[in-house]
């Protein structure tokens, strides 16, 4: 009995069904309370007015945009090392979700930046590296779509994911070197001193949890769909060869 047993497609479908259902329910609950609390029951910040409330969408989506890529990196490595198909499919499933999170973060950032910084877009290190991350997501998905053989596609996209991670980090430091930014530092960290004020912090945590749960649910849903698609494809092949 080892943890890898859960990577068996049949078992994976079995145990993820309740997990996915509960993630959706909990995501709806936490996101609902977090966002409603944040949007309607927190005071307006003295310098930012009501625009401060965009933080409840911006920070969680940015957090997930990066962590979705890291999750893809981990599942890609698992695929390359242990050849669990579910792992490769999970990476494939996470890519569009991560890409949408990147877009949400960029969009909410632009909407917030317009009244606050006076510009929709600034070539700031954080903004630029997010744009590059978005391009990485695009290339990754395009490579998946372009290759017919599923195993080769999984292999090659895994390699791209690993190399891309290195270059994404590199780009992050390169743009930092190039331009000192407009974007503020971290709003959340382990260091309590750096946090936003408590009134915003508590609903933000709820919204974060909601986004994470939603991400888990969506990735599970997409992975399950991919597994079933793969099965349907195999059945079709068999039917054709008989």
């Amino acid at each position: 009995m080892s943890i890898w047993e859960y990577a068996n497609p049949k078992k994976f479908l079995d145990w993820t069904a309740p997990v996915m259902r509960w993630s959706f329910v909990l995501a709806a609950l936490t996101l609902g309370t977090g966002l409603i609390w944040g949007f309607f029951f927190t005071p307006e910040a003295d310098k930012f007015g009501s625009t401060v409330k965009i933080i409840y969408v911006h920070v969680p989506s940015a957090f997930l945009a990066i962590n979705a890529w890291i999750m893809m990196l981990v599942t890609s490595l698992i695929w390359l090392v242990r050849r669990h198909h579910v792992s490769a499919l999970a990476a494939k499933a996470a890519a569009p979700v991560g890409m949408v999170m990147t877009l949400i973060a960029l969009f909410t950032g632009a909407v917030w930046g317009q009244p606050m910084w006076g510009t929709w877009w600034e070539w700031d290190p954080r903004l630029t590296s997010f744009l590059i991350l978005f391009l990485f997501y695009l290339g990754y998905q395009a490579l998946w779509a372009a290759i017919e053989d599923p195993d080769t596609a999984a292999d090659l996209t895994s390699v791209l994911c690993i190399v891309g991670s290195v270059f994404a980090v590199l780009s992050r430091y390169a743009v930092l070197f190039w331009n000192q930014g407009l974007h503020q530092g971290a709003s959340l960290s382990m260091d309590k001193e750096e946090h936003v004020a408590d009134v915003y912090y508590q609903p933000l945590l709820l919204a974060m949890a909601g986004f994470v749960l939603l991400f888990v649910a969506l990735v599970l849903l997409r992975t399950r769909t991919e597994i079933r698609l793969r099965r349907a494809g195999a059945l079709e092949n068999r039917a054709r060869n008989v």
Partner: protein, 218 residues
């Protein structure tokens, strides 16, 4: 390794190899820029370093799909894979051959084109150095992209989508070095970072490229 290098260089130089095409493309892009932004030299001078680097990058991109595509079509890539030469070494040689046929001529031609863009006089030397240091990285990263997409029909567009984001750090440091030199600032740091990127890509990417090639040939 030497034999492979000489073979690749010969193939590139002979008719249909595309040698010189990248150079001509580089020239045309540079010539088009003043048509686009207007001929004022005061306008061209500050953007010249960036334009030169972006044009060099696009010219290098143009010939990337040739690195493996032709060998894949006629089966010599399979022969290479079964030869005693490890795939890692083969991809390294391919990258070097690509650099000699595109990066090197681009570097040598850049000062002439710098005149067209009214590049600041102090920036010519650093620009040569930065291109000489940076274009090998472009070739190596491009070889990796070509190895990923070799099995795909009409993979050219996909190749650029994959490779261009990977070019970002090289571009930033390369153009930054030239810009600093043009402004009379110290440009050693970006040059060192550029050299580090080139060294890093040549150390690591042959392994990734060889792995990708093996996956494609399986």
């Amino acid at each position: 390794m030497k034999a492979l290098l000489i073979r690749d260089l010969r193939l590139a130089v002979r008719a249909g190899g595309g040698f010189g095409l990248g150079l001509a493309f580089f020239l045309i892009v540079i010539v088009l820029v003043p048509f686009g932004v207007g001929p004022e030299t005061s306008l061209l001078r500050p953007i010249a370093p960036g334009i030169l680097w972006v044009a060099a990058l696009l010219a290098a991109l143009l010939s990337l799909d040739r690195i493996f595509a032709l060998d894949h079509e006629d089966g010599s890539l399979g022969l290479l894979a079964t030869s005693p030469l490890p795939m890692e070494a083969a991809t390294l040689v391919k990258a070097v051959a690509h650099w000699v046929t595109t990066g090197l001529p681009l570097t040598l031609a850049a000062p002439v084109l710098g005149v067209l863009l009214n590049l600041a006089p102090a920036a010519y030397g650093p620009m040569l150095v930065s291109l000489a240091l940076g274009t090998p990285a472009l070739s190596m990263i491009g070889t990796f992209g070509a190895a990923l997409t070799v099995g795909i029909r009409r993979g050219g567009l996909l190749l650029s989508l994959i490779v261009l984001p990977l070019y970002v750090p090289t571009l930033i440091f390369g153009a930054e070095a030239v810009r600093r030199a043009a402004d009379g600032l110290d440009y050693a740091t970006p040059l060192m970072m550029l050299a580090a990127i080139t060294a890093g890509t040549f150390a690591l990417l042959p392994f990734a490229s060889a792995a990708a090639l093996k996956m494609n040939l399986r």
